[in-house]
Amino acid sequence: EDKVVQSPLSLVVHEGDTVTLNCSYEVTNFRSLLWYKQEKKAPTFLFMLTSSGIEKKSGRLSSILDKKELFSILNITATQTGDSAVYLCAVDGGGADGLTFGKGTHLIIQP
């Protein structure tokens, strides 16, 4: 059975800190790994990673995938209170396999 494990499950930091969120996976087939930010209803898409070692960046957020060690990290630098959310990691197994989601990391940024 495909598995995605995120850590930590929750994290409280102060504004301005840098955080690293982890996602490890075990899937039969791998097509891509996706990161989402969930605040209210629909999660917002952040990154899709398919290749090892290539960092994707968007503003203060960046992410990288290691397909050998089967994990990805999401970094947020200079955190702001608006970064408070649940961050979800999901792996797309392709074909008849679905998306497998982790349980999310609940990030709280204190002023």
């Binding site: 999660p43 074909g95 396999d97 679905g98």
Partner: protein, 112 residues
């Protein structure tokens, strides 16, 4: 552990057919959601429900309807499937709106 199950992992239908996608959660969650995910578009909310028999439109409800007759079950209905509804459909549930959503494995629907 929360479990969200979807009736099919992979479905092939013809244009014009009526399609039912079923989602069941076992944690007595109030909220349930249906999304579709397409390459490059992330997750888009189709409908959600915050209680039995209650439903609200999401961002892309056209061509879809939903049914929530029991708390644990949320169905997505394509009244007359079209090729542009070929997608990955994901169901999720949460205890309250702001809390973590738990996702099912998804159904890959192909409409020919």
């Amino acid at each position: 552990d929360v479990k969200v199950t979807q009736s099919s992992r992979y479905l092939v239908k013809r244009t014009g057919e009526k399609v039912f996608l079923e989602c069941v959660q076992d944690m007595d969650h109030e909220n349930m959601f249906w999304y579709r995910q397409d390459p490059g578009l992330g997750l888009r909310l189709i409908y959600f429900s915050y209680d039995v028999k209650m439903k609200e439109k999401g961002d892309i409800p056209e061509g879809y309807s939903v049914s929530r007759e029991k708390k644990e079950r949320f169905s997505l209905i394509l009244e007359s499937a079209s090729t542009n509804q070929t997608s990955m459909y994901l169901c999720a549930s949460s205890l309250v709106e702001e809390e973590t959503q738990y996702f099912g494995p998804g159904t890959r629907l192909l409409v020919l």
